[in-house]
Symmetry: C2
Subunit: 303 residues, 2 copies
């Protein structure tokens, strides 16, 4: 049933808080924490390289239509035996498309890796299970140092809680059962590699506190409260985000009748603020608007 | 954030094959096996009993608009402290709606239980996590003897493989990554309680064989092949279903060019035949048509 082409969609993921858990084996490395998956996400199209005259060049790689590669995607393809053909030529075309800002805390690299795994497995009939594909994408993301927990969260969808770090079979997940509108504003990039490459002891202690609090009370309000406390304690708040969080808090204080107000928080790791409901627009921002993604990563029909 | 009303959707689930694993503790009891979740499913609406003059009677229970109860739903409500008020009066209204046939192998009782858990938790702000709600619904279903593995499969969505039996934290799942059209025809009811209440040793041996085969090759074609072998070995095939499976096989043999053909199989446990792609319509049946449900059980916006 090799169709030679397939498309996958993977939701964006904003991490509310986390603790880092490195390990020798990439499948066992990862993070504990929680976040929100978004109906705004990443679409990955994988196809056999056609290399016909006038089409894209052999083994093309595009991001939003421009030539560009994602390291973790290349590692995923290699793990599926689709890296390079006998002539050392990339064997497949990969197109990554997203409306999400890149490098701003939405897990775009993890989404691209997981989408490539799902689509390539389907297009070339690799016969891997879902858990195997999530593990391959998680290992690629951890190996590249671009993320620690986005992939397993994006595979699940909803509002995932990462109870134990690592790929399926090692890690453990739960979730907050919730459907909600999500708003976000991005002020620019923040390097995941730099933060994760530094001393993460204080960050991880704050992350473990936040997780204990959320496990005791798995509600959206607690998620957002714990996220704000984490950003302060881990000393990760950037000025524009701190200002937006304060503006949302003030705006919600003005209309206390709306019991859905949970305030805003910072997306880890990006210069991004997100809110559930209408917090950012009520506070006068002009946010992007989406919802919690119920499904998680999935193959989609060809378009 | 108690809204006093909420709605959940839970996909139908046809089991392709299974082995039964009873246990003292309901959370540890369950089944191994595999199946397909469907975009045709069950919608559960839970609301505070309004009991105003002219409205539905106190603590109303309806199934497709008619008065009716699902045992597992009552157990779920009791587990969430919503069983009966101080005057021994049911405290909430529950409306179950489905286009699926009941008692025909679609996991409607499990779906109703899981939908009630998700909706009641949200409507009455019970603060349970997703894993806790799935466990409560699984325990209710196992306790009533109406199913062993539908709930955990319906919570995940897609094409779930039940690697280890039991609720979240005990059981283990994987999945076949696939998006597909699903067709089905139902010829009538089959009692789950009667089959599960009898000697299940031969059935479970056949189910374990089928699972080993699918784990070695997690593809849709293998799922359907293993399902047909299971139905024969476990001696569960009913004549109408056997006839339909043969008709689909013959029809596909006539047009071998369609590599998507996987044949048809029996839904366990119901007088129901299902096929992926267009197998049943190609063979001259007039099936219901839906797709694999990518998302699994979820809260939905009020309508």
């Amino acid at each position: 049933m090799s169709r030679q082409r397939a498309t996958a969609f993977v939701p964006g993921h904003v991490t509310a808080f986390f603790s880092a858990h490195p390990a020798e084996r990439p499948a066992a490395a990862g993070s504990r924490g929680a976040g929100v998956t978004l109906t705004d996400g990443v679409t990955v199209r994988v196809a056999a390289d056609e290399a016909a005259p006038g089409t894209a060049p052999a083994g093309s790689r595009t991001i939003d239509g421009e030539s560009g590669t994602v390291g973790a995607v290349e590692d995923v393809l290699a793990a599926l035996g689709l890296g390079r053909d006998a002539g050392d030529r990339p064997a497949v075309d990969v197109a990554v498309e997203t409306d999400l800002p890149i490098g701003a805390g939405f897990g775009v690299s993890g989404a691209a890796a997981l989408g490539a795994a799902l689509a390539a497995n389907d297009a070339f009939d690799r016969g891997r299970s879902e858990n195997e594909l999530v593990r391959i994408a998680h290992e690629a993301e951890v190996g590249r140092g671009t993320g620690l927990g986005d992939v397993v969260a994006q595979a699940r969808g909803g509002v995932p809680i990462r109870l134990e770090p690592g790929a399926p079979g090692v890690g453990e997940l739960d979730g907050i059962p919730a459907d909600a509108r999500v708003e976000y504003v991005t002020f620019g990039e923040l390097s995941t590699e730099r933060v994760l490459g530094g001393d993460t002891a204080a960050l991880s202690a704050a992350g473990e506190d936040a997780l204990a609090r959320l496990r005791a009370d798995p509600r959206l309000q607690t998620l957002m409260d714990a996220a704000r406390a984490f950003a302060r304690e881990a000393d990760l708040l950037v000025p524009e985000v701190a200002e937006a969080i304060a503006a949302v808090e003030e705006s919600e204080g003005d209309s206390p009748e709306n019991s859905d107000d949970c305030g805003a928080a910072m997306a880890m790791l990006g210069r991004t603020v997100f809110a559930l409901g209408t917090g950012l627009s009520d506070a006068g921002y002009d946010p992007e608007v989406c919802r919690v993604d119920a499904a998680g990563a999935r193959l989609v029909e060809q378009q």
